[in-house]
């Protein structure tokens, strides 16, 4: 079926089977490979993007559900100041090890900070519980979210 998706502020027409998850449209059709496959069941968060500002697991979200809504992937995460603050905190604290899950982690962290500019540890637990990191970067992810929050507060 033909769809028009709005991805990272660009309008893109695609032609895919109706049940195709957004993940495979992003990766296979559009070449936006920053969004990762991890489980196919919405269990690991590696495929997280924002649809209409909300974090969404694209491996279980049909592309058709994103029709007409703004989609932001990791490739577009730096378009706003929260995204840039998160990316810069990630770099400053050397969060990534293999890096594979980090796109999903960053997208979840940005969504958290948008809703909750000064998250507590409990807020971070709740927002990040759906994102698995097998390398075990959780302590640095937590620290980086706090750091990004601080930086954004200072800049506000």
């Amino acid at each position: 079926m033909p769809l028009t998706l709005r991805i990272n502020d660009r309008s893109v027409p695609v032609e895919v089977a109706a049940d195709t998850p957004l993940l495979w449209v992003l990766r296979d059709e559009l070449g936006l490979t920053g969004t990762k496959f991890g489980c196919g069941m919405g269990l690991c968060g590696a495929c997280t993007v924002h649809v209409a500002g909300r974090p969404v697991r694209t491996c279980i979200t049909p592309a058709s559900a994103a029709q007409g809504k703004a989609v932001t992937t990791i490739e577009g995460a730096g378009h706003d100041r929260i995204g840039r603050a998160v990316q810069s905190a990630w770099l400053a604290l050397g969060v990534a090890q293999c890096g594979y899950c980090q796109a999903g982690q960053i997208m979840s962290a940005i969504a958290l900070l948008r809703d909750t500019p000064q998250p507590t540890d409990a807020d971070i637990d709740a927002a990040m519980a759906g994102n698995i990191c097998r390398c075990g970067t959780y302590p640095r992810i937590r620290a980086a979210i706090h750091r990004a929050a601080e930086q954004l507060r200072g800049a506000a």
């Binding site: 895919v16 089977a17 049940d19 195709t20 998850p21 495979w24 990766r27 296979d28 059709e29 070449g31 936006l32 490979t33 920053g34 969004t35 990762k36 496959f37 991890g38 489980c39 196919g40 069941m41 269990l43 690991c44 590696a46 992937t73 990791i74 490739e75 995460a77 730096g78 990316q87 990630w90 770099l91 050397g94 990534a96 090890q97 293999c98 890096g99 594979y100 899950c101 980090q102 796109a103 960053i106 540890d121 971070i124 637990d125 709740a126 990040m128 519980a129 759906g130 994102n131 698995i132 990191c133 097998r134 390398c135 075990g136 970067t137 959780y138 302590p139 640095r140 992810i141 937590r142």
Partner: protein
């Protein structure tokens, strides 16, 4: 070992009907006529330290440094490159890292496992950088017509001291390449006091900036013109074969292009594809849907009755009778029968899956008689050898590009998935094909860390210290993946933390019973150290409590006075392939990490009810690690871990921040396997499938604080491993902490969270 010799070994192995020898983790083929060789020299592929292979400098002053070891999160692309850059006097912001393709003749050993990269290539990469620096100095001196002693390289320029003239590296590069390469003995290394990047924590990661914007390219991200996307239905039982395939419905799925059978390789599995039926499509989703539509029947073969629960009784029988004696000191069997307090315990570790976040994936294309592969592999040369053999090509016609690895942990040492891609590309007349494993494929068709049952017995003397120690370790050997009928751990397996216990016990007997394997066995981060460390470090805790002693003081007394032990005196003739002279077991360093971790953790501080501290300390991969876990156990059995203190000594430290990161990660992975990790088999089939039934630790359950305490570094001490040695102490430290908190002794992993009733 030179590349030529490696090839001879390979041909020898092939003549015997397999490619196994070149893959064996020990990496050592010992020839009777040669003196023993150690370290990287003993690795197939050996060492190359030619600066022209690893360094090139563009006229625009960009410094290209080739890293020949795959990057899987350990930071090696940054760490090896910064070693070269430091000795080269390059400016890190101008360095670009190039990933070497598979070619051990050109680059030396690329087999990235066993925590060996820095152990084996710190010194060679220092020589690479220093030799290139000397060639640049030589070129500048020639340009100015002055003696080379009058010039000095600093910060990517060569300075003539007398006149203050400077030439940038970019201006000198071409002439420098024509300078003679200094002989290794003439290479002037820096004084470590002059290091600018080595041993510092401020060096920007080679890949971090790409990762945070989604630009980093992993194996699963390869995209080529006209590429097809493939998923494969593999036999559920190891050794199973396809009996019948009806692909009609699969071919009717829009986007499905072709269904291709992959032949099953006869057992042993080695690193050949498992066989099965591949669905190739114009996108991943169509391939997945096509696979679901396949109508398949299988002949499950001889392993169809394998049941891991029943196998536990095989392991129990095995550890309750004598096995092959691998260390015998004094007369443990007699001493165990004499009077004194006697303890015995059995510890169980289940099969473990690696579950790297990037599942196996590889892409292949064949054009003009040449095959190119893009793959996230820890063993690039083994991948190239496999593809060469599967396609019947010449090695020179096979190129393996190494992508970033989205986690690996030992799984991607075995390149069966790259072989699938190569076979499928050939089936499609060379068209580019990318194979992706789903998570279910990954969990069900892994090369698992072997199940293990460890039995320990001890008798305590009047002072509470052990007079006798008997340890039997029953675990299928990884060798069974390569040699039909191999049974029981070999010296590289019991060499991981079982044989080399440095305890002052007069009577020690260590035995290896023979147990068979019915599954693919592989290497999981720290490998057999997991089971051995869990058992030994838990048993020490049990002995201490039986003796009414503090577990920390008890351990230190058992280890005894500081001394350097030749591993051969502990019947350890492997020593991770390292020289026993260069790498003795130094009990002072083991004591020191115990003292540091316990001090930092506030060992002995009063704990409220339901809270406890647990200690474990292990020596593996030439590094010393001690962990103190603080555990809190609720009335409902729910475990939380507020804090872990880890003290670590790996000798020379090249990239301290990445060492810390590896220890943090090892801690999380160790807690995952302690609490959750378990693969079981029924009717020959793996019963788990995804993160719902093979859970891994998530943010809320991770310790709030993981405090890593690096021992003071010294470049006088050769580097030890970093990627693996942080893992073995974690599970026993947690279980010891839970004992301290609750009085409940846990001898069976995983313990569950909340605590499982099966755990003890």
């Amino acid at each position: 070992m030179s590349g030529l010799t490696r090839r001879a070994v390979l041909q020898g192995a092939a003549a015997l009907g397999g490619l196994a020898l070149c893959l064996r983790q020990s990496g050592r083929i010992v020839w009777a006529s040669q003196p023993p060789i150690y370290g990287a020299d003993a690795d197939p592929g050996g060492v190359v330290d030619n600066p022209l292979v690893f360094v090139s400098i563009h006229p625009d002053d960009t410094v290209l440094i080739t890293v020949h070891r795959p990057e899987m999160g350990q930071g090696i692309r940054t760490s090896l490159a910064l070693v070269v850059a430091d000795e080269l006097e390059a400016q890190w912001p101008r360095v670009r890292v190039i990933q070497a393709p598979a070619d051990e003749t050109r680059y030396g050993s690329q087999d990235t496992d066993g925590s060996r990269s820095m152990r084996h290539f710190f010194e060679p990469m220092r020589r690479v950088g220093a030799a290139a620096r000397m060639m640049l100095e030589g070129a500048a001196a020639a340009h100015w017509g002055v003696a080379v002693a009058e010039v000095v390289a600093e910060r990517q320029q060569v300075l003539h001291r007398g006149t203050g003239q400077r030439l940038a590296y970019g201006e000198l590069a071409e002439a420098a390449m024509r300078q003679p390469i200094p002989e290794p003995a003439q290479v002037r290394l820096k004084d470590p006091a002059q290091f600018r990047y080595i041993g510092k924590s401020s060096t920007r990661s080679a890949d971090g900036a790409d990762i945070v914007v989604g630009r980093a390219v992993y194996g699963i991200d390869t995209r080529l013109d006209g590429m097809l996307y493939a998923v494969v239905a593999r036999p559920a039982v190891l050794g199973g074969k396809l009996a019948h395939c009806d692909a009609q419905a699969a071919l009717a799925v829009p986007g499905v292009v072709r269904v291709v059978q992959i032949p099953s390789h006869p057992l042993p599995a080695q690193y050949f594809p498992l066989g099965g039926v591949a669905v190739l499509a114009s996108n991943t989703w169509a391939a997945i849907k096509g696979r679901e539509a396949l109508q398949l029947q299988w002949d499950d073969g001889a392993n169809r009755t394998y049941d891991s629960q029943r196998f536990e009784t095989v392991l129990e029988r095995a550890v309750r009778q004598p096995g092959k004696v691998v260390r015998d000191q004094g007369d443990a069997m007699t001493a165990l029968q004499k009077g004194g307090k006697r303890l015995e315990a059995e510890y169980y570790l289940p099969f473990l899956a690696h579950a790297s976040m990037e599942p196996p994936a590889a892409t292949a294309r064949i054009r003009d008689g040449r095959c190119e592969v893009w793959a996230p592999v820890q063993a690039p040369q083994a991948t190239r050898d496999l593809v060469t053999s599967l396609l019947g090509m010449k090695e020179a016609d096979v190129t393996v590009h190494v992508t970033l690895l989205g986690g690996a942990f030992g799984r991607k040492s075995l390149p069966d998935f790259a072989g699938e891609a190569a076979l499928l590309s050939r089936a499609m007349q060379g068209r580019a094909v990318r194979v992706m494993w789903t998570r279910e494929d990954d969990i069900r068709h892994d090369y698992y860390q072997a199940v293990a049952l460890e039995r320990l017995e001890a008798v305590l003397g009047p002072d509470g210290m052990p007079l006798a120690w008997l340890h039997r370790s029953a675990s299928p050997t990884e060798n069974a993946t390569f040699e039909a009928g191999a049974e029981g751990e070999d010296q590289t397996e019991y060499g991981m933390g079982m044989i080399n216990i440095p305890f002052r016990i007069p009577n020690i007997r260590l035995e290896i019973p023979r147990v068979p394997a019915y599954t693919r066995i592989g290497w999981f981060r720290s490998v057999y150290n997991i089971a051995h460390g869990f058992a030994i470090q838990s048993f020490l805790d049990e002995l201490a409590h039986a003796a009414g002693r503090d577990p920390r003081a008890y351990r230190l007394e058992l280890i005894g006075a500081p001394r350097r032990i030749d591993p051969r005196s502990l019947s350890d003739n492997w020593n991770y392939g390292e020289s026993p002279v260069l790498y003795p077991l130094d009990t002072a360093r083991l004591r020191a990490v115990i003292e540091r971790a316990t001090r930092e953790a506030g060992w002995g501080r009063p704990m409220p009810k339901g809270r406890g501290l647990g200690l474990a300390a292990t020596y593996s991969f030439m590094s010393y690690a001690a962990a103190v876990v603080e555990a809190r156990v609720g009335a409902d059995g729910a475990i939380s871990i507020p804090r872990v203190d880890i003290a670590f000594d790996c000798g020379a430290q090249v990239n301290p921040d990445r060492i810390r990161a590896q220890l943090e990660g090892s801690c999380i992975m160790g807690l995952t396997l302690a609490m959750h990790g378990e693969i079981t088999f029924k009717d020959g089939r793996v019963q788990q499938s995804n993160f719902n039934d093979f859970p891994v630790l998530r943010m809320p359950a991770a310790p709030r604080e993981i405090r890593v305490h690096l021992q003071p570094a010294s470049f006088e001490i050769p580097p030890g491993g970093v990627g693996e040695p942080g893992l073995p102490p974690i599970a026993p430290a947690l279980c010891n902490a839970i004992f301290a908190a609750t009085g409940r002794r846990l001898r069976r992993l995983p313990i569950g969270n909340p605590l499982s009733s099966r755990a003890s």
